[in-house]
Amino acid sequence: MPNNQLDPNKWITRYADYLFNYTIVRVKDRETAEDLVQETFFAGLKSMANFKGEASERTWLISILKRKIIDYYRKINSKKGQAEVRINYNSDTESEGDWLEERVADGYDKNAEDQIQNEELGLAIEDCIDKLPEKQAKIFKMKTILGYDTETICNELNITASNLWVIIHRARTALSGCLEQNWY
């Protein structure tokens, strides 16, 4: 039954960070990720008529984003195809030693499984942040994720430091509870 509706005015506040986190682990470059998110919103706007309301707004946007990411890789791959392909044992001529030891994978490096789990964790946290009141979510993100100074946030949003700490406290308590249910 179609019951979900689109509201592009709220897309940025509600979904920009979620889509961004989904993208950043796949393209590894901030600027590209931001561009892809913006393009996704534009594409969403264009195809609003196709939205049937069966999926949630976010699921629908993610499905558009997935196609954008695939397109992005297609584009860079076709560029690569035109370049000359060279395979060297070691492209870095300055390295000492000349045996394969240098090429052995670092055992302490993050493995794929860890990365997948961390990505899921990131999206689960983002889900929980989504459930916070808008102002709390904004302040929590500025303080915790973007690492802004207390003073900067207070000046920008015109609140007092004790105000900020109360909001942070509420946000952290709510998040702990939410993750307790959805993650542990």
């Binding site: 964790l121 993100k141 994720i145 973007l146």
Partner: protein, 85 residues
């Protein structure tokens, strides 16, 4: 002020210091007071443990966000685009 009152803090204040500790903004004296409280108050201990867990998870997830200015700009562009439809 009596030394006793300087040393013993309320649960609310302990939680506040605990929040500040997560961002590395608690002073040495505040940390001492928090630790005294942690030694005997199980509510503060529970809160502190949840709070530390949250900080660890946030760090582990590598969660990221778009800068606020950039978001405002994205919003403006989207609004521009919307006016075309």
């Amino acid at each position: 002020m009596n030394t006793k009152y300087k040393f013993f803090i309320s649960c609310e204040e302990a939680k506040h210091i605990c929040d500040k500790t997560q961002y590395g903004e608690a002073s040495f004296w505040e940390k001492v007071k928090l630790n005294v409280r942690l030694s005997w108050c199980r509510f503060t201990r529970a809160y502190s443990s949840d709070n530390n867990k949250l900080t660890k998870l946030l760090k582990k997830s590598n969660i990221d966000a778009i800068e606020q200015d950039k978001k405002d700009e994205m919003h403006r562009k989207l609004q521009e685009e919307m006016s075309k439809y």
